[in-house]
Symmetry: C2
Subunit: 371 residues, 2 copies
Amino acid sequence: MTSATRPQGTRGGRASIGSQGGTGGTGPGTADGHEATAILERARVSVDPELRAAVDALPGPLRRIARYHFGWEHPDGTPATGNAGKAIRPALVLAAAAALGGPAARAAAARAAAAVELVHNFTLLHDDVMDRDATRRHRPTAWTVFGDADAILAGDALQALALGMLAEDPHPASTAAVARLAACVVELCAGQQVDTALERRDPAEVTLDEVLAMAEAKTGALIGCACAVGALYAGAADDDVDALDAFGREAGLAFQLIDDVIGLWGDPRHTGKPAGADLAARKKSLPVVAALSSGTPAADELAALYAAPFEPADLDRTVLAVERAGGRAWAQEQAADRMSRAMSELARAIPDPEAAGGLLSLAEFVTRRST
Amino acid sequence: MTSATRPQGTRGGRASIGSQGGTGGTGPGTADGHEATAILERARVSVDPELRAAVDALPGPLRRIARYHFGWEHPDGTPATGNAGKAIRPALVLAAAAALGGPAARAAAARAAAAVELVHNFTLLHDDVMDRDATRRHRPTAWTVFGDADAILAGDALQALALGMLAEDPHPASTAAVARLAACVVELCAGQQVDTALERRDPAEVTLDEVLAMAEAKTGALIGCACAVGALYAGAADDDVDALDAFGREAGLAFQLIDDVIGLWGDPRHTGKPAGADLAARKKSLPVVAALSSGTPAADELAALYAAPFEPADLDRTVLAVERAGGRAWAQEQAADRMSRAMSELARAIPDPEAAGGLLSLAEFVTRRST
């Protein structure tokens, strides 16, 4: 983790990356965006059968909780055509396998991709319990519907499903992939542990390096692992597996930075979360910590707002203080920097831009989402 | 799951198994007990280094929570010489490996034994959060010391550690063992899910078959898995692995029945839990459900007591009602029946009583604990 540059104050500077800025659509308008959408759609076609078969093998009540969480069922068990998320991580597994091993490696990695998506969803189920988040993907979270115990147990079962199905995969890379995915789960837990511990700390004492390290563990690790697992399934050399992991980590951090920006300046109709939810919960998100540590007058205003309980009437003023203290511009510059590092790592493992195209499209897609 | 015979009313009938009845000691007095104690001690010597190395590889805060939970540290991080539990499950892994594969198989199974113990402790951490249990092994539970989030995350990390370290074990049985252990975790979660759901149900509508199935999933499954993993590490044939699993499941159910008996009639100084904790929480333990479904006058009295909030003054009367309705005698007869089935399964896989001796001693030890 390199030391983070402190943001400079800004007077409403605009986004330096991609299409943020209120175009209002969820679909990107660029050729890259179209390509990424097609890649995500093709990944869903490959991975969904593995994912559904795994979840449907769970015993009754756990299956129902998991199927609700994935958006496949309503709380009463009737079928839903819900939003199961963009499923970027399994798409990255397949794209990495294809980039390093061609179509055969991609086809062989479908189960591994489903395992990575199961791990992601296990962490979502548990994080929502711990964070008391009531909404995910525009729907009530599982714990609000079924209770804490059921959400915890469904998450536990998804972790076991993920590692168990990967271990049983006859592919020669399966053992290395299980070891990597299990180590990644430990890192995800450590990241979430730091996140919950940070919530209890005085905002003035939380450093940018701390929140960047936390975001790398909580978000970068699994995106890196997804790419590394794809590389393992392509039979890639250790150096290339590590480069793909680093590519994913950097892209994942860029993704988190943009996600935090969207959480503050995005349209709740598209984010699926209430406006200002992170601010209301006094979350020390990346732009907020950047703003608090900027040394600007707006930082002092933000610190005073964060020291008091949240008042809905203060929402706009708080968002503006983060922006004027440079939190938004810093996050967007950091995201651009991380994406540039991600590209370097990718080029190290896959010098041919055409072969790397799918991974590039996905990485750019997630960091070019509209606010 | 066979249908359970309804208990008959009793007028204070005494235990039909082993040394229950208030001798007051924790150490058994039989030769078998001495042998089991020696087996448990030898297992600890073999498994502890693997267990401690795995836990110590966790990142800082997660390591501290786990080390507290295992009784190796006080809450402030200073070393403790605590009670990490009897570690029966890893001892069963080693005993099964030794019984079917001799000393070499036993030595090779130490890591697998540690993985099984990690899974057990992951479930304890999570169950204590869900059940709001404040005491375990005579100490405050991890969630009461570190909070729910930390206890959940430490449990998640222990599951990942367990499956990851087993996958990385170069032993040829490791992949089959991971698959079996992961499937067992799903069953454990399903059992705990049923348990928490039963707590919300009218006691009069809960059947003995339901609670027996729940106890098999929640307790029998992992004890069966421990024996099966040991058999896998001995290179045993599929039939023998399955017989060892069935042996462990039946012995595990016997263990749970006796544990429930001890929970009601045991000495809190030895159980590590407050007297009547299960009754105070209105738990539908096996003796309680047996008593409630006995059709005796004491069953009606017990149902009336369970319909009202717990009053400490009613504790003795409640315990007596369970006993007079036959709950204690039924549980002890069921335990004896399960142990007899366990012996048959064991003899199927290991006809030589000398080879099976270690497994027998352990199984008898856990079902002969003093109250």
